[in-house]
């Protein structure tokens, strides 16, 4: 049997140094992030498998999510437009964007708690950049979102709602949501791997945040107290997408709050990652 194995490519010849006295945490964290992003194809392939395995054998697959979101939008739209005595044509576009973007945020944050725990089998067997696991989490949530976001267009078409050119800003809002998704996949992934009580707490916070944020109701109903709303990052992140699409743009203070919150999550994720990256394999 001659040469039945493949020689490794020269780029794989590396020097691995781990020194507890000189941990080079920053350097290794930056290396993890850069090699992790360079290997986005692996993260994408794993995310695709996650989606496929989750809906294995199901006829509609991820389109069940589109369907259930559609039913929810229509039912809640009929109910709350009556409760708030708002015309359906005005309320439903507002509600649909709010519910769908909220669903995206809710599902991403919940999933971010599992980003490292669910990769336990790989983390303890194969040396990979941890960034790959966080990216995998972002990608699989993006894939799920791709099945519900288009419903917004359907609602807009049915009610003849045509947003102006400012609607393009919604993409900037989605980019902010994406940046937060990545940062939270790292920081929540790590915290939840270490403290297993965190995921239920996160779930409760999200549920509370849903009722505290103007998803079903309009901010105007708060009267003067609405000035406090920008302190709710869930609301401002959602509003950076909903504002441009249904309200002719979001106020500057909303953007400011959303961007500040994004910087905060990214900075804390980075600091946490630099400090505790070496401990992840012991936590999962």
């Amino acid at each position: 049997m001659l040469q039945s194995t493949i020689a490794p490519s020269p780029s794989q010849t590396v020097l691995y140094v781990a020194d507890a006295a000189r941990p080079r945490r920053l350097e290794r964290a930056l290396e993890d992030i850069s090699t992790g992003f360079a290997r986005w194809r692996l993260a994408a392939a794993l995310a695709r498998l996650d989606i496929r395995n989750r809906y294995r054998g199901s006829v509609l697959g991820p389109f069940w999510l589109s369907l259930s979101t559609a039913v929810m939008v229509v039912a809640l739209g009929l109910l709350y437009s009556t409760l708030f005595t708002l015309p359906l044509g005005e309320y439903l576009p507002y509600l649909s964007v709010g519910l769908i973007v909220w669903g995206l945020i809710n599902q991403t944050v919940t999933d971010a708690c599992e980003s490292l725990i669910s990769a336990e089998g790989i983390i303890r067997q194969l040396p990979l950049p941890y960034t790959v696991h966080a990216l995998r989490c972002v990608f699989r949530n993006a894939a799920v979102a791709a099945h519900s976001l288009p419903l917004i267009l359907v609602v807009f078409a049915v009610f003849g709602h045509l947003p102006g050119p400012e609607a393009l800003l919604a993409f900037a809002g989605l980019a902010l949501v994406g940046a937060n998704a990545f940062a939270l996949s790292i920081v929540l992934g790590m915290v939840c791997a270490r403290f297993r009580d965190i995921p239920p707490i996160v779930g409760s916070v999200l549920q509370l945040a849903f009722f505290m944020s103007p998803v079903l109701w309009k901010p105007e109903l708060l009267g003067d107290r609405r000035v406090w709303l920008p302190l709710n990052p869930f609301y401002t992140l959602m509003e950076t997408v909903r504002g441009p699409l249904v309200e002719g743009g979001a106020p500057g203070v909303v953007w400011l709050s959303a961007i500040a919150f994004t910087l905060l999550t990214c900075a804390s994720a980075f600091a946490f990652f630099v400090r505790f990256r070496g401990r992840i394999a012991f936590w999962v």
């Binding site: 194995t5 794989q12 010849t13 590396v14 140094v17 006295a21 692996l42 790989i122 194969l126």
Partner: protein
């Protein structure tokens, strides 16, 4: 040039869920040797303690010792999975680990999809992945089963696939846990040939095993671990004969 250097290397596993103080006390009172409390009052298992060794090109090292001696932990540390809590480790050269060859396998994907996935895990480009798929397909002898989900494979077929995937790349530093020999007789023969090729092609072999016959046959040097420490390090004959004679484990310090 491929080489491994370890100086005073230590790995500790924190027992995170030992919270109750009485339980903590009991654990620490009963086995003071490997369980200890670190500076932040956590109970930790000292998995590896003060390991210093160097492995140079051409050496075939067996890690021997009882269950829980730290063999697999050392392999994982060499592979870069665990960061040492003390000491220094340097590994030069491309590392291939056969610690758990089934790791990263997706049960609902076909054999071919799993091969391409493994290629991605290894950071290969498309051309290399295709080459790997061809070679693994040929070596595993799975034929038409390559296009069937792995879930429906027999245990032997799964071993053939994971063995072929794990051994298709020839690394400079090969880390292996036990000998992974299962499957039908025809495949066993081919698996053995493949391992010989891989072992001979590697510049450094580190093999954790219980099987002293395998150690004698394959290795030039043996490191005996007990309780996370090196208790003997030297030519195979010396170390293995010491074990066979039941040489006492040096007293814990």
């Amino acid at each position: 040039m491929p080489r491994i250097r370890a100086e005073d290397l230590a790995i500790e596993f924190p027992l995170y869920h030992v919270g109750a103080r009485s339980l903590k006390k009991r654990l620490l009172a009963r086995t003071p040797l490997r369980l200890k409390q670190d500076e932040s009052n956590r109970v930790v298992v000292a998995a590896l303690r003060g390991l210093s060794f160097g492995i140079d090109r051409g050496e075939r090292v067996a890690l021997v010792g009882g269950n829980g001696a730290g063999k697999t932990t050392l392999l994982r540390t060499l592979a870069g999975i665990y960061d040492p809590v003390a000491g220094r480790l340097e590994v030069e050269g491309s590392v291939g680990s056969l610690i758990d060859p089934a790791a990263g396998m997706d049960q609902s994907s076909t054999g071919r999809e799993n091969i391409l996935l493994r290629a991605l895990y290894r950071g290969m480009d498309d051309a290399e992945a295709e080459e790997m798929a061809d070679e693994v397909g040929r070596f595993s002898g799975l034929g038409e089963f390559l296009d069937v989900p792995v879930r429906s494979y027999s245990a032997g077929m799964q071993v053939r696939l994971s063995f072929a995937m794990a051994t298709v790349i020839a690394p400079e530093v090969l880390l292996m846990d036990e000998w992974l020999l299962a499957g039908d007789a025809d495949f066993m023969q081919r698996a053995k040939e493949r391992l010989v090729e891989l072992v001979q092609g590697a510049d450094i072999l580190v093999l954790a095993t219980h099987d002293l016959a395998v150690v004698r046959e394959w290795c030039t040097r043996a490191i005996r671990l007990e309780g996370g420490r090196i208790v003997a390090d030297g030519p195979v004959a010396e170390v293995v004969d010491g074990m066979a004679r039941g040489a006492p484990v040096p007293a814990e310090g």
